[in-house]
Structure formats: C-alpha cells, structure tokens
C-alpha cells in the first residue's frame, strides 16, 4: 500500500505571534510539523506496517522547513518531495492544493493521500479537500478512526460531526484528512533520526511539477490577504462572588445569556 502524506511546517502552537505592519513577525518563532499532519503521517505508517508499500511525504514550504520534514522522515516516511521553490510560497489554499496535486500526479501509483484536517497557522481546513477535487478523488475529512481493506481497495472512516459521528465508506485511492484522536503519533527514534538524513530528499521547482509561475504561490492565488490583525486583548477575568451553588447558578446564567456559549 503506497501512501502520500502532505506535511506542512507551522509555527509552534506555543509561539507568541506578533503582528507588525500587517505581517506576522517571523523572527524568534519556533517551527514544528503541523500537529494534524503528524496524525496523518502516523496513520500512513500504521497501514504501511500492516500492508507494506511506501510512504512518501510531499511538503510545500520554504527551505527553512527542512528540519520539520526531516522529523517526518525520522518518524518513518521513506522519501520526501519538497516544493521549496520561491514561486510556490505564500499561496492561498487553492494555489497550494494545485501545486501539491501537480506534484502528486507525478509520483505514480498510490492508494491513499493523508492530510491533516487543517494547518494550525492559517486554519483554513481547505487544502486536503481541494486536493481531492483537483485530483478527482473521493475524500473524507476530519477522520477519527479508519479501517482500510487493501485487497478490496476500500476504506471505512469515522468522522466527527456536530453532536455525533458519521461512518463513511469510500473506494481507494482517496484523500483522508486526519482529526486528533485518530492515533498517537510516534516519537522519532534516534536511529530514525540518523536514517532520515540518508533518505531521498528531493527539492522540486516549477518545471518538476509542470506548472507555470503564475499558477502557483501568491500569483496563482484566488484570494488576497488584505490585513492581518492580532486578536483583541483578552479582557480581565471576572470573579463571581457568593455561596457555591448560588455562584454556579450565576455562572451558568452568564455563560448562557451573556457569553452565549452554552
């Protein structure tokens, strides 16, 4: 069973994001593998252990992303195609999906494409699904449990929906986007780290995927980011006074009628 895993490098979820002149200040930010992509990769590795075949990473991002990608190889992926050329960068979900799709269509036979449900930087949750559309593949998103029958070339996925779960059956190849809880991503072992640096690490430019500069990256995007704003300052907490059951009643009342969260 051959799998493709799309892996993106994102700022560490604990990084303090600062906005200056309408842009995120990049200096001082630590980068990590998008956590949802780790679930995607773990799932691909799990099914590889059962069914054999290979796991190929495809990543679109700047040169800087090399170390995050190496972590993916250290976890056990076999090879990586890194769309590192400048032209690919700073695209919207569509331009990114288009570049990834072009790259994947050069990679030969595969049974599944695993993506994270979303990247935790832009939070668009769109690339995986667009990728499926562009490649004309079935897809299932936000998957929290997966069974694959490789002989029947089919998959059965459970996905979280509002207030419940949905079970979907679909033929392979397909695009599957991973939700937290799908699995427990492994830590790369020391041996894995050493082997990672020996594995095929291919950097691809426009010619390699057969696209023109105006089809990808910022130039190929349908969206333009016109402003980046920091979230509003969190207002100070409020202390509800009173006896416990009376205070609890007040809190419930405030959560329901004022904050409207329950």
């Amino acid at each position: 069973m051959n799998s493709i895993v799309c892996l993106k490098e994102v700022p560490d979820t604990e990084a303090r994001i600062e906005v200056r002149d309408g842009k995120v200040v990049e200096e001082g930010i630590q980068y990590v593998v998008n956590p949802y992509d780790e679930f995607a990769l773990e799932e691909a590795l799990k099914w590889q252990e059962q069914n054999g075949g290979k796991v190929t990473l495809v990543s679109l991002g700047p040169e800087r992303a090399r170390e995050s990608i190496l972590k993916g190889l250290a976890m056990g992926a076999d090879e990586v195609y890194h769309l590192s050329a400048e032209a690919f960068q700073n695209g919207d979900s569509y331009a990114t999906a288009k570049a990834l799709a072009a790259a994947i269509s050069k990679l030969g036979e595969y049974d599944a494409i695993f993506c994270g449900r979303q990247a935790v930087d832009d939070d668009n949750a769109a690339v995986g699904i667009m990728l499926a559309e562009i490649l004309d593949l079935p897809h299932v998103s936000v998957v929290s449990r997966l069974e694959i029958d490789i002989d029947a070339k089919s998959a059965k996925a459970r996905r979280d929906i509002e207030g419940g779960q949905e079970v979907v059956e679909l033929p392979l190849p397909a695009v599957i986007t991973a939700q937290k809880g799908l699995n427990e991503p492994r830590y790369p072992s020391f041996r894995g780290i050493r082997q990672a640096r020996q594995k095929p690490f291919v950097q691809w430019g426009l010619e390699d995927v057969g696209l023109a500069a105006d089809e990808v990256g910022a130039a190929g995007s349908k969206l333009e980011i016109v402003a980046v704003l920091p979230p509003p300052e969190r207002p100070a907490g409020r202390i509800i006074e009173g006896e416990p059951d009376e205070a609890a009643r007040k809190v419930v009342h405030l959560l329901r009628d004022e904050a409207k969260v329950i």
Binding site: E67, A74, Y187, P188, F190, I193, R194
Partner: protein, 381 residues
Amino acid sequence: MDFELNEEQRLVRDMVRDFAEKEIAPSAAAVDKAAEFPAENIRKMADLGLMGLPYPEEYGGGGGDYSSYAIAVEEIARACGSTALIYAAHVSLGCGPIYNFGTEQQRQTWLPRLCSGEGLGAFGLTEPEAGSDAGSTRTTAVRDGDHYVLNGSKMWITSGAIADVVTCTAKTDPGAGTGGISCFLVPGGTPGFVPGKNEPKMGLKGSITSALSLENCRLPADHLLGEEGEGFKQMLITLDAGRISIGAMALGLAQAAFEEATRYSKERVQFGEPIAKFQAIQWMIADMATEIDAARLMIYRAAAMKDAGVRFTKQAAMAKLFASEVAERAAFKAIQIHGGYGYSQEYPVERIYRDQRLCTIGEGTSEIQRLVIARQVLGKL
C-alpha cells in the same frame, strides 16, 4: 567559531525534549514521592534507541556522538532527575568501560544487551574507605586457576543492585598502589555478589543506590576488563566522560528550575504587580539565565572536544564543577522566587533542589574537580 548544534543534534534535542515533556515529566513527582524506579521511562527510552546512543551500531548502539548524548541527558533531567541519573550512569559508567576497554568478546557479550536497554550497566568504584580517594580500593581479586576470587564491598552504586553487569575495581596486586588496581565485569546474580538495600536518599529517589558486597565471588578469568593493573587508568578515563553527563544532568535541572521560576514570577501578584516586575526578582532571573547559558556552553564544548578526539579532562572537570554549582544556585533562587510555595512539595522546585544536590558530589566532588583542574593548570609542582 560555531556555537550552533548541528542538524542531527537539533533533531535529537527536539525529539528528546518533546518525548521527555510528554512522557517523563508527568510522572516525575510521583517517582520522587514513591521512591519508585521508573521502569516505564527506561523502557520507553530504550524503544527510542537512547540507551546506547553514543556507541557504534555494530554493538547495538545508536552510532551517535557524545554531544547528542549529553543533550539527551540534559533534556531528560529537565523532566526528571531520577530518570536522568539512571540514564547517565548506565550510558557513561555502565557501557563506557566495556566499550572503551573490553575485549571484542566482552563487548559482544554485554553491549548489545545494554545498548538496547534490555539490561542496565553499573560501575562499582566507591567503597567505604575509598570515596574521593578512589585509589585506596580495599576490594581484592585473587587469581585462582582460571578464575579470580573477589572480596570486598562497594558503596553508593547507582543501579548496582539491579544491573546486568557491574564493572568493579579490585586490587590484583595489593603492593602496587594504584597500579595494582584492575576492573572486573561482575554479572548480576553471580554467587557471592550480594547487593544491599536501596539507600534512602535526599533526592533522585527513583534511582536505586546500593552497597554491594563481594564474598568469595568467583569470576572466570575472562571477566577481567582489559589487562591487570589498568583499572585505575580505566576509571579515570571513564570518569572524564561521565563528568560531562553529570554536568549535563545539572544543566537540565538548572534549566527546569529556571523555567519554573520565570513562569511563577509572571503569575504571582504581590503589591498589585506580578513579582517579575520587581528588580530584585529580575536580577535573580538574569543571573540564572546567564549562568545557565555559560554552563551550557561549557558542557557542549567539553562534549564537542570528546567527539573531536582531543584531550578534554580539564574542560570536563570545569564544566561539571561549574554546571553543578550553577544548578545549586539556580534551584536556590527558584525556591526563593516561589517564596513559601517553593518550600512546598506541591511545586516542582522543591524536588529539583533535592535532585540537583548530588551533582556537586557524584563522579568527583567539587573539591576533587578543583583538584583535577588545578593539576591541569599548574602542572607538576
């Protein structure tokens, strides 16, 4: 001059840090409280290939450099001092002598088991009469046909009671001073090899520290490590490397104390402000940050020199001396910054303070480090 870790070292740091934060730190308080050997931690570290990290792959090791190993010790110590000591003693003192001085047969017999983490290694040097004066070993090994018979006792041996093999010093030539000391590989369970009880300690309570007694303990002659009379030299070389790891352990504990203190200083409000706004607190934090940075540079330099194959005795002693004393000051300040809460067992700085305390004692006290450094600096007087 290059002050950056290389790519492999960065990947090791990130991996071990992530692993230690999620898998080791959560149980550190419980391990301390119950004084319970953290077997699960060691098993998980074995799965990640950490237990033989700096030894060649042909012996089941990871084939990594000593710097990566020091970084791993630092990151483990940042999460749990007990686990870090067990790890450092196993790799540096348990595996080190066998790899450095063992015959091919001895390496093949022991290293794959130790490097895979199936079993632990230990080093039995200290005795009731031989602490800082490690050359005054009283344990004897008498040749008897194709065996040696060992008699004597050891003190304070980390993991000695549970190890697969303990490298023990013993006198083969009682008249010959330190030149009469040899090392022997004593397998756990050998008749006449009797571990004492686990010593109750101030800190590092998850690590098992025991006296060992050797009572007519018969070992086949091929359990001699290297040659007769080489034991003292083997011990000095082993400690040189081991000091880097004890220094790395001190560094990790100092870092943990520092992080706890900075976080707390931003949260704790007195006089209407977070205490981090008071200059007195800021100075403590600035001093901690500066000293930890210096300690880290010294540890990494000593490790890099070892990796480069140059003599590092002085730099390892300096790094161990400095890092262990930095850990003491950092843990002290971390408690000070926590005020009364720092004295409570509810906060980790109390445990860190007790755990770090060993680092100015084990593998040569601070006084002995100064002696080693002075000898290196002054030469023969």
